[in-house]
Every structure is written in structure tokens, then in C-alpha cells.
């Protein structure tokens, strides 16, 4: 059973990601964000459920759709926002932007613009946790589309033969850009694919933070006990299109209506209230507080300066030699 404190945490995390992303969408609409953007709106329960099951010292590996993961893991929202705007105060000093938003000291190994390239890195990080004798685990996020890349097979295999503490988190939002997963994957679920690698796997409702959390807690326990990797497929849906100019017209109306009615924030709020962890009033109070934080973060970012052009030359190589 999940205790009340944890339920409050699950609600707070889910809402935090929602509010952050809503603000990002808002500012994006004002044309303040350069380049493109892959919003996490709609998938909040996955990031929140996964990170709530991790300790601060555990790692996550993120993707091109990474803001939600990073914010849920506890990255500073001011620096996250500033990174999206390309400001010098960004967590990557404006060198990464939306697709590379990363904060190492919050336990984020990196967000990557190359689909499926994070899986090998997660293998190495998990190997490192094991070889260094820590009890840390690595949760690796990737999409349904990413599971068609070769690194999926390579990395699942390596994690299994070496019994590594990795939790493979598939965010199955059913589309890779405009390509539905049913066009590219012959099996019923992506989780099924893990079976060839003898990796325990599970499909969960990725719009239900509690369900995601409970599955990941089990996987984390296995990983910390030295019992190796688990794959969890979280079925979810994006509220918006894939990126900047995508109205997501390719999604059948009924399908979209169904999924968009399954609001992750509403779901976890209802659960927390029903289980007596929160009153309506307390839930609203948390929301007000988070809104304030998010607004302050956005304001900080908007007011921050851009990097100086010559800063483009810095950080290519590290200097000190051990």
C-alpha cells in the first residue's frame, strides 16, 4: 500500500510537470523559445511515477521529449526554463536547449536528440553503479518509436546478460511523429519484445501515476537486490502534436477523445483525495504554490541574459588531467 505522504508526492510531481509544460506551451506561443519543442503534456504520469520511485542519487536517462523527466527528477525549474530559452543561466548554459535539457546534480545523465541513443548510455551507467558497488539504479526513458532502433536490442541484451540495475521505461504514446506503432511493431505490446531477452516486463496505464509508481517500485527493488533489469511499458498519449507545427491530425478522433479524457492530473488528484491523502482544498493549495514557482522560474528565464557569442567556444574539452 502506498502511504499518504507518497500519494501527495505523486500528485505534486504530476502537477508540477503539467504546470511547467503548460507554461512552456504558453511562452512558446509568444515565440520566446527558439527552435522546436517536444512537449510532454499528457505524459506527466510517467515521469512523475518513475521518478517518485527513485532516490536522488539514482540516475535517469532522458530523450528528445525530456523536460518532463528532468523537472520530475528534481531539476531546478529556473535553470530548466532558461535552457529552453537559450539563456546563459540555463542548466546547459544555453548550449543544449530543449532536446538536451540536463541537470547532472539532479541525477539526469542527459537528454538526447538522437532517438534511442540513450539506451546504451544507460547500460554503461548501470554497469558503473554495479562495478562501483553503489545501490543506485538507472531509469531509462524512451518512446515506442525508439524500440525499433537497433540499440534497443543491443542494450536490453547487454543489461540482461550482465544483470544490470536498469529500468527500461517505454513511453508508448502510440506514435513516432506521425507513424502509429501498429505500422512498425508486429507484436501486441512493446513489453513483449523484452521476453526474447528474458527481461521481466509489464504494461501499465501510463496516465495513472500510481500505477506507474507501483510498477517501478517493484522494478527498483529487483534492481537494487541485484536481480537485473525490468521493462515497463507505460501506455499514454500526448496532448499536443509531436513538435512545433504538428496539429496531430493523423490521430483518429475517437482515439484522441478517449485518451484526452484520461487526464493524468485529474486521475492522481482523484486517487489522492479518495484515499484521504489530500482534501480538495489542500490539493488547490499545492497547485497555487506550484503555479507561483513555475511563474517565477519563467520570469527568471525571460529576464536572464543570452550568453556572449564567444562563449560558443567554451566547453569543447575538459582541461584537468587526473
Amino acid at each position: 500500500m502506498v502511504d499518504k505522504k507518497k500519494l501527495v508526492d505523486l500528485y505534486t510531481r504530476t502537477l508540477k510537470v503539467r504546470l511547467f509544460e503548460s507554461k512552456v506551451w504558453d511562452i512558446f506561443g509568444q515565440n520566446l523559445i527558439p527552435g522546436t519543442l517536444h512537449l510532454y503534456l499528457g505524459q506527466e504520469a510517467v515521469a512523475a511515477g518513475v521518478t517518485a520511485a527513485l532516490e536522488k542519487t539514482d540516475w535517469i536517462q532522458s530523450t528528445h521529449r525530456g523536460h518532463g523527466h528532468v523537472v520530475a527528477k528534481g531539476a531546478d525549474m529556473k535553470h530548466a526554463f532558461a535552457e529552453l530559452l537559450g539563456k546563459a543561466t540555463g542548466s546547459c548554459k544555453g548550449k543544449g536547449g530543449s532536446m538536451h535539457i540536463t541537470q547532472f546534480d539532479a541525477g539526469v545523465l542527459g537528454a538526447t536528440g538522437v532517438v534511442a541513443s540513450g539506451l546504451p548510455i544507460a547500460v554503461g551507467a548501470a554497469l558503473s553503479c554495479k562495478m562501483r558497488g553503489t545501490k543506485d539504479v538507472v531509469a531509462c526513458f524512451f518512446g515506442d518509436g525508439a524500440s525499433n532502433n537497433g540499440t534497443f536490442g543491443e542494450s536490453l541484451n547487454m543489461s540482461a546478460i550482465w544483470n544490470l540495475p536498469v529500468i527500461w521505461v517505454v513511453e508508448n504514446n502510440f506514435y513516432a511523429m506521425g507513424t502509429p506503432i501498429k505500422w512498425t511493431c508486429p507484436s501486441q505490446s512493446i513489453a513483449q519484445r523484452a521476453e526474447g531477452y528474458c527481461i521481466p516486463n509489464k504494461v501499465v496505464n501510463g496516465n495513472n501515476t500510481l500505477e506507474v509508481y507501483e510498477a517501478v517500485v517493484e522494478a527498483v527493488e529487483r534492481a537494487r537486490a541485484g536481480e537485473g533489469p525490468t521493462l515497463i511499458e507505460c501506455q499514454t498519449y500526448r496532448m499536443k502534436g509531436h513538435s512545433r507545427f504538428d496539429p496531430a491530425k493523423y490521430r483518429p478522433k475517437e482515439e484522441a477523445e478517449f485518451w484526452l479524457s484520461q487526464d493524468p492530473v485529474e486521475i492522481i488528484r482523484k486517487i489522492a483525495i479518495e484515499q484521504g491523502a489530500l482534501t480538495e482544498k489542500e490539493a488547490d493549495k499545492i497547485k497555487k504554490k506550484l503555479e507561483k514557482e513555475v511563474n517565477a522560474a519563467a520570469e527568471f528565464a525571460i529576464k536572464s541574459d543570452y550568453p556572449k557569442p564567444e562563449e560558443a567556444l567554451e566547453d569543447v574539452f575538459a582541461e584537468e588531467v587526473a
Binding site: K95, D105, L109, L119, P120, G124, S128, G150, T151
Partner: protein
């Protein structure tokens, strides 16, 4: 000093670093005790350090390098071996998009202390998928350091520097140098990156070359000395960082430059070096820079074809004469 092969010196460097720093480990296909590496470089290390630290992997090049990246950014010092240099094509994403860029795109939040060892070059009649020389691709990727030692005494010091460097280092060996012998200091030493070595002093012409071609250039220089031609031979030892000064000083002294590598000509490292010298020492040049490379074809199999492909003594000697 002990005379030993390049292979032995390299293994000694690896062994010393593994003894010195428990974060150092080796991973790659067949590096462990059943085989000891396709070229036997790691033979014996698994017995000595265990198969956790000399780790056989599946045939998964992209994930071998990616795992090294993940291990490097979380506190270990991996040395990944790619069995043949041609196969690094399968790991280009992890080498060029991840390892090389991570520090930069994350604004200096991390560094990526890993070494990727692999072997280049022809001469063994193993055709187009096991014989290329691809160093220019990596020289063209900001964020990677590149070492290409050609001598036993260098390989020991350079592998140790590579392992201690906080950046990704591409460490390129050549199939035909593993058995070459040289006196190697017994004590522990490192060789700084970015310091070329003048392998032979000369006054008439500078020859800059890498890997196995460097050995050929030195032999040619000995032959030409009999004709009264004095050749200075420079071994860069690392391409990134590049020791421009030693090369430019030599060119300013001799006024003539011949560049020799086993790469196919178009877009080779020799093109970059030639352009750099034109930019920085044009006024000192008394003749056009001459490049000796392989022709722009895949590496052929049949012995006469491969022999034609790889620059030989005669082509190097002719090139030197043509520069005089």
C-alpha cells in the same frame, strides 16, 4: 630499457593503468580470456584482473561505445575496444554524437573520460571491411582527441595519457605495427598529447606521416640519404591536439613538405595539414606541398591490387624527389 613489441608495450601501459586506478576497465568483443583481443593486445589481462574488468561483450558496437560513455560520465574510466576500425561505423552515433558532444551540449556539466581503441590499415589482404584508415572522420569531429602511435615506446606512454585524459580519446593502432620492436623504458611514464616527435633530423625536405606509413617514410629517408638527400621525418603522435609548431618550424627550416598517410586521398588528414601549412607558413615554402595517399577506392583484396592501393617506398621516394 627493454626491447619489446608494440603489442607488448601497449599491454604494459594498459596493465599499469589498471593497477594504478581501479576505475579503469576494458570492454569489447573477445577481449577476455578465451581470445585476448583479435590482435592479442589484451591477452592475459583477464587472467590478471578478472573478467569484470576485462569484459567480453556481445557484438554490439554502438552499445559497447555507448556503455563506455555511460560508465565514463558516472565515475569509471573505460577503455573500449572496437575489433576492427571499419566497424566503428556502427558506433558513429555514440562516438560522434554522444561522447564528442556531451560536455559541450550540457554546458560543461560533465566530461567523458573514455578511450576507444581500434585498429586501422591494410596489408593483410582482408579487403574492404577490415582494412580502412578512417582517422579524418574523427579529426573532423570537435570534442574528440586522437592518438595514433606508431612506435612501441610511444604507445605505452600515450595509452596512459589517453586513459588519464578527462576527454574521449580515439586511440588508433595499425595492424602492421603490432610486431615492431623497440627499446621501451621500464619505468612508468606518460607522453603528453600535442607533442610531435622529430623521428629523423634533416635539412632538405620535411616528411610528415602517420601509423605504418611513418615506418616506410623512415626507411625511404635512409635510402635517400645515400643519394645525399637529407629528409626530416615528423611523427605527430596525436592528431588532436595537433602539434603545429614542430611541423611549421620544420617546414620553415626545409622549405618543402611531403605528407604521407594510408588514407584515401580526398578529405584525408593530409588535406587538412596541407591547408594549415599554407595558411601559416606559405612564405617559407619553396615548392608545392606533395601528398602521398591511397587512391579514392575501397581497399581491394587481391595482393597485387592491395599492393597498388597502399603507398609504397617508391611512391614516397618519388614524392620526396618531386618536392626538391
Amino acid at each position: 630499457m627493454t626491447e619489446m613489441t608494440y603489442r607488448e608495450a601497449l599491454k604494459q601501459g594498459l596493465r599499469e593503468e589498471m593497477q594504478r586506478d581501479e576505475r579503469v576497465f576494458i570492454l569489447g568483443e573477445d577481449v577476455g580470456k578465451n581470445w585476448g583481443g583479435a590482435f592479442k593486445v589484451t591477452k592475459g589481462l583477464a587472467e590478471e584482473f578478472g573478467d569484470e574488468r576485462v569484459r567480453d561483450t556481445p557484438i554490439s558496437e554502438n552499445t559497447i561505445v555507448g556503455a563506455a560513455v555511460g560508465a565514463a560520465i558516472t565515475g569509471l574510466r573505460p577503455v573500449a575496444e572496437i575489433m576492427f576500425g571499419d566497424l566503428i561505423t556502427l558506433a558513429m552515433d555514440q562516438v560522434c554524437n554522444q561522447a564528442a558532444k556531451m560536455r559541450y551540449m550540457f554546458g560543461g556539466q560533465t566530461s567523458v573520460p573514455l578511450v576507444v581503441r581500434t585498429v586501422f590499415g591494410g596489408g593483410k589482404n582482408i579487403a574492404s571491411h577490415h582494412s580502412q584508415s578512417l582517422e579524418a572522420w574523427f579529426m573532423h569531429t570537435p570534442g574528440l582527441k586522437i592518438a595514433l602511435p606508431a612506435f612501441a615506446s610511444d604507445v605505452k606512454g600515450l595509452i596512459k595519457t589517453a586513459i588519464r585524459d578527462p576527454n574521449p580519446v580515439m586511440f588508433f593502432e595499425h595492424k602492421l605495427v603490432y610486431d615492431k620492436k623497440e627499446e621501451v623504458p621500464d619505468e612508468e611514464y606518460t607522453i603528453p598529447f600535442g607533442e610531435a616527435k622529430i623521428r629523423r633530423e634533416g635539412a632538405d625536405v620535411t616528411v610528415w606521416g602517420t601509423m605504418f606509413m611513418l615506418h616506410k617514410a623512415l626507411e625511404v629517408a635512409d635510402e635517400l640519404a645515400k643519394e645525399g638527400i637529407s629528409v626530416e621525418v615528423i611523427d605527430p603522435r596525436t592528431l588532436v591536439p595537433l602539434d603545429k609548431k614542430t611541423l611549421l618550424d620544420s617546414v620553415k627550416k626545409t622549405g618543402r613538405l611531403v605528407l604521407v598517410t594510408e588514407e584515401t586521398k580526398t578529405g584525408a588528414t593530409t588535406a587538412e595539414i596541407a591547408a594549415m601549412v599554407q595558411e601559416e607558413a606559405f612564405d617559407w615554402l619553396d615548392a608545392p606541398i606533395v601528398r602521398v595517399n591511397a587512391p579514392d577506392t575501397p581497399v581491394p583484396f587481391s595482393p597485387p591490387l592491395e599492393k597498388f592501393f597502399i603507398p609504397d617506398h617508391k611512391r614516397i621516394a618519388d614524392a620526396i624527389r618531386s618536392a626538391l
